[in-house]
């Protein structure tokens, strides 16, 4: 404004005031329209709350079908997958094959451990090895809960 006042001498006050108001209105509306474009663009760029496109999700059941601290083994594309309902209400899923020799593991709710029946391998609820011969943790698969449906995502 000070800049304007210095470079453009105002002949009288009224047109000056009117021009400034109109300029302000044009500027404000233009910025408003700009925001109107920008906000949806940002919303568009934000991926929707569901598994990444390209990955295939399989519904393994509804939330209420899983009791707390229980698990079930489901078959996805012929591969056994252990879906674990943790005591807090969270879900995790692991490929239910022991990393030792490939036996199908199961959940022991009493000890809150995943156990392999073959050679005594034991895994925690995060899939990490607690005891026994398995060389590495169970492979975890992402779980998405959407509209109360529990969905396991395969890459």
């Amino acid at each position: 404004m000070t800049d304007d006042a210095r470079t453009v001498p105002a002949p009288d006050a009224t047109p000056m005031a009117r021009r400034t108001l109109l300029d302000l209105a044009v500027g404000a509306t233009a910025s408003g329209v700009g925001l109107l474009v920008l906000l949806p663009a940002v919303r568009f760029a934000t991926p929707p709350a569901q598994p990444t496109p390209g990955a295939r999700g399989s519904v393994v059941g509804r939330r209420e079908e899983f009791g707390e601290n229980t698990a079930r083994v489901v078959s996805l594309d012929g591969e056994p997958v252990l879906v674990l309902a943790l005591p807090g209400g969270d879900f995790r899923a692991f490929v239910a094959r022991c990393t030792h020799l490939g036996c199908v593991v199961s959940y022991n709710p009493a000890r809150e451990q995943i156990e392999c029946p073959c050679h005594g391998g034991r895994f925690g609820c995060d899939g990490r090895v607690l005891a026994g011969p398995p060389p590495s943790a169970l492979r975890e698969l992402p779980v998405v809960v959407r509209r109360d449906e529990v969905m396991v995502v395969r890459g």
């Binding site: 800049d3 474009v37 949806p40 663009a41 568009f44 569901q50 496109p53 390209g54």
Partner: protein
């Protein structure tokens, strides 16, 4: 208007506006071109922004492409609108650039020293058609596959470079995964890059040719012409938005290459005249397959249209008539094909 005093301007934008205030355009043709250029720039900006957004979710494989576009429309917020805007923006851009070329031909705006502007303008219009066409292939619908097959076979008809072009475009003899990556590369990389070269040439030309001396029949570029352009752009934006909101573009089902048949498909309106020529022609012309003759003729014709000022340096009436006849043939062919 007092001469610009750069030292007194602390901000770069203000300095630019002041310099532009010294640039004048004629009230007739000059203003018309500024307005047309402004609308084209708005549409290009819409295409660039929506194009970048759509690219965020696009997956260029034959198995996933169609599904990824559907994902955008169904699941992504504002997805349907962004795709619709991208589609209608492209259609409008072809129309606006085509109109600009026609207007330039009518006003003989290719005369020296405007030859470079004419060449760049025709090239931009051709690039807009190429963008719309490659864009229509990306969803990999039934129609895309047929178009990819057809257009690559047509490109292969060109003498010398034909088979090479087909191979470069498809990455094989039949549409496959590589084709989509290449088409995407063309659509989002090569063609926009060529277009920006043309835009740069036009800007340089404008900077070099615009008169700097005001007259009774001229307007300063800033703010007079610029404000008019902005007002027109706002009106065009309204029209585009309304169109995109109310008329979503069609999307064909995902296609299998082996089962793609052209039965029942209509060509896009901007290529309808080529299609019309191809289907109306006899099987052989001047002893060669007619497709080869016609495709070569169209390619040479477009090149001749673009480079025409170089051949017609004195800007004769006959030259103008030839250009106008060529443009009228394209428009007439398009209208006839659409009515057919």
């Amino acid at each position: 208007m007092e001469p610009p005093d750069e030292a007194a301007d602390p901000t770069p934008i203000r300095a630019l506006l002041r310099r532009l205030a010294g640039v004048h355009v004629s009230r007739g043709d000059g203003l018309t071109f500024v307005l047309l250029a402004a609308v084209a720039m708005l549409l290009m900006a819409v295409e660039a922004v929506t194009g970048v957004l759509l690219a965020l979710y696009y997956r260029p494989t034959t198995a996933d492409a169609n599904d990824s576009v559907r994902f955008v429309v169904t699941e992504v917020e504002y997805g349907g609108l962004v795709r619709s805007l991208h589609y209608w923006g492209a259609q409008s851009l072809i129309a606006v650039l085509g109109a600009t070329v026609a207007w330039a031909a009518l006003r003989r705006a290719y005369r020296a020293p405007h030859a470079l502007a004419w060449i760049s303008g025709v090239a931009l219009a051709v690039l807009a058609v190429a963008e719309a066409f490659t864009g229509s292939l990306l969803p990999w619908s039934h129609r895309s596959v047929v178009d990819a097959q057809l257009s690559s076979s047509l490109a292969a008809q060109l003498p010398l470079v034909g088979p090479l072009l087909r191979g470069l475009m498809l990455g094989g003899s039949q549409p496959n995964d590589l084709s989509l990556v290449r088409i995407l590369g063309l659509h989002a990389g090569v063609l926009p890059m060529l277009a920006s070269i043309c835009i740069g040439a036009l800007a340089l030309h404008a900077a070099g040719c615009a008169p700097r001396h005001p007259s009774a029949a001229s307007l300063s570029l800033s703010p007079h012409a610029a404000l008019r352009a902005a007002a027109l752009a706002a009106v065009v934006a309204i029209a585009l938005l309304a169109l995109s909101s109310l008329l979503p573009p069609h999307l064909g089902a995902s296609a299998e290459v082996a089962r793609a048949s052209a039965a029942g498909l209509r060509p896009s309106w901007y290529l309808a005249f080529v299609h019309q020529m191809l289907s109306a022609a006899p099987p052989r012309m001047i002893g060669l397959p007619s497709a080869r003759v016609l495709v070569t003729a169209v390619a040479l014709g477009v090149a001749a249209l673009a480079l025409f000022p170089l051949f017609d340096r004195r800007a004769s009436r006959a030259g103008q008539v030839a250009v106008l006849v060529a443009l009228a043939a394209i428009v007439g062919g398009t209208i006839r094909a659409l009515l057919h």
